[in-house]
Amino acid sequence: MIKGLIKGIAVVALLVTATSCVHLKEYQKNRLNDSEMALGNRKVEKNELNFESYREAASGANAGKTGGGCGCN
């Protein structure tokens, strides 16, 4: 399983490298700055993340709770 994880990370890293990040000027970021493009959870999702942490064993890596802070695990 760990091997699969490492492979997955390697593939993503390779893809990122292959696409070779372009240096973007500010005027080229209008689409990236669209609120729907935000790399995070929506405010309206806040309570959904809490419900998921009560019903599922996995948590974290989503800028939400990683455990603790509530009666959930």
Binding site: E48, A57, T66
Partner: protein, 415 residues
């Protein structure tokens, strides 16, 4: 913390009164005569989020993996963002949060063997976070604190967070260190009265007051977490983020009112190890397709030392009907293997060292799908200038354990 790329691009009007705008084209480099106002503390934004949640299922942990899981929950949160500039022209943000939840859980009544316990409860959770942003250096530094109080659980948390943009402002690294110092109230099922007044795996010191009330003891649970993320703009339509947490928990990690029935018919309470290590890693990839469609994707792999492996994959496709109105259908798939400490009703052996029949640790798959609407017109939602953004979202959740739930949420953003 995840929204730094956009947030940073959006704060420039306020925070750069005497600096050249480093990454906007819309802000002319003019002297702002209202600078003195920016130095004053002012309310920048107020957010209100409210959700209604209901669920049903037949595997309650309170009754040993059988019995109703019917729950309703109303969760409300208010966040106030106060902003000011200090003498060095760094933007200071003080986020003051307050949450209040009310729930009813049918299984909670069966903490008492007869079903006479209260099936409802409340939770209140204030929070405070202070962040200083240095726009010249492209970094932020902040501290936060959190408190949560419900009848059977109390939590005190604190965190430190830091972020640094890359030199070309196209990438950003973030780190957050969190600690939660919790107390689990030792409320045992009524058929175990002696447990409630004795130490059990911790500092329990419960006692009765002779008037029908019980002073329950408590036991500590500590969670320490380090969270890291790196985001990168790939091109003018694509940006990605990698996320990872390292989490360790110690103390009383069971819940004392969760029953377990052994295969000989005898019942007891859940018993889990006193430490747990979690390692979730994930990635987000957002792509602006054409002029109106956005692909928001997410993947997470999770591993812990209780034997659980999990995959989470999500996709959301916002369609921008207009510049200020979007419709967003979404789908999330989740699976997990069972914890080595889980077994269903009457399947554990009395010789097992650790045991739980909480289906949170069972093997299952789940699907969560629904739709969201976002409205953010320039003249305010419904023409009300103060209400700059409104989101409504509905989701339907199903697990292969037969648990089904629905959640509807509304978020209002006031300026």
């Amino acid at each position: 913390m995840l929204c730094r790329l956009n947030a940073s691009a959006q704060v420039s009007n306020n925070s750069l009164a005497e600096n050249k705008a480093p990454f906007t084209i819309s802000t002319p480099a003019v002297t702002d005569t209202s600078d003195y106002k920016l130095r004053k503390i002012h309310v920048d934004e107020v957010d209100f989020v409210s959700s209604y949640y209901n669920q049903n299922g037949d595997h309650s942990a309170v009754t040993g993996g059988i019995g109703t899981e019917k729950v309703t929950d109303v969760a409300n949160g208010l966040t106030l963002n106060l902003v000011w500039l200090n003498k060095a022209n760094n933007k200071n943000t003080l986020e003051v949060g307050l949450g209040f939840d009310y729930h009813t859980a049918a299984s909670q009544a069966f903490v008492s063997k007869t079903g006479a316990s209260s099936p409802s409860g409340t939770r209140i959770y204030p929070s405070l976070d202070w962040t200083v942003e240095n726009a010249k250096k492209g970094n932020t530094f902040g501290i936060g604190t959190y408190y949560s109080n419900e009848f059977n659980y109390k939590s005190l948390g604190a965190d430190l967070h830091f972020s640094q943009k890359t030199a070309n402002k196209n990438g950003e690294f973030s780190a957050k260190l969190q600690g939660y110092f919790d107390q689990v109230t030792l409320i045992y099922p009524s058929e175990f009265p002696t447990l409630s007044s004795a130490d059990y795996n911790g500092n329990g010191n419960g006692s009765g007051d002779g008037r029908g009330h019980h002073n329950y003891g408590s036991s500590p649970r500590t969670t320490l977490a380090a969270s890291f993320s790196y985001s990168q703009m790939i091109n003018s339509r694509l940006q990605i983020m990698f996320l990872g947490d390292v989490v360790t928990q110690h103390g009383f990690l069971s819940l004392p009112f969760h029953r377990v029935y052994f295969n000989n018919g005898q019942d007891t309470v859940e018993h889990l190890p006193s430490s747990r290590f979690k390692l979730p890693v994930g990635a987000r990839l957002n792509y602006f397709l054409g002029d109106n469609i956005i692909l928001r994707t997410y993947y997470r792999y999770y591993i812990d030392n209780w034997g659980i492996r999990s995959n989470t994959a999500g996709i959301e496709v916002p369609y921008k009907v207009t510049s200020f109105f979007s419709i967003s259908p979404f789908y999330r798939f989740y699976n997990q293997t069972a914890s080595k400490y889980f077994a269903p009703y009457e399947a554990h052996s009395p010789t097992d060292q650790y045991y739980t029949s909480n289906y949170e640790y069972a093997k299952f798959e789940s699907s969560f799908y629904g739709i969201g609407f976002r409205l953010a017109p320039p003249n305010g939602v419904f023409g009300w200038q103060g209400l700059h953004e409104m989101e409504i979202r509905y989701g339907h959740y199903t697990q292969t354990t037969d648990l089904v739930s629905n959640v509807v949420s509304i978020s209002l953003g006031f300026k």
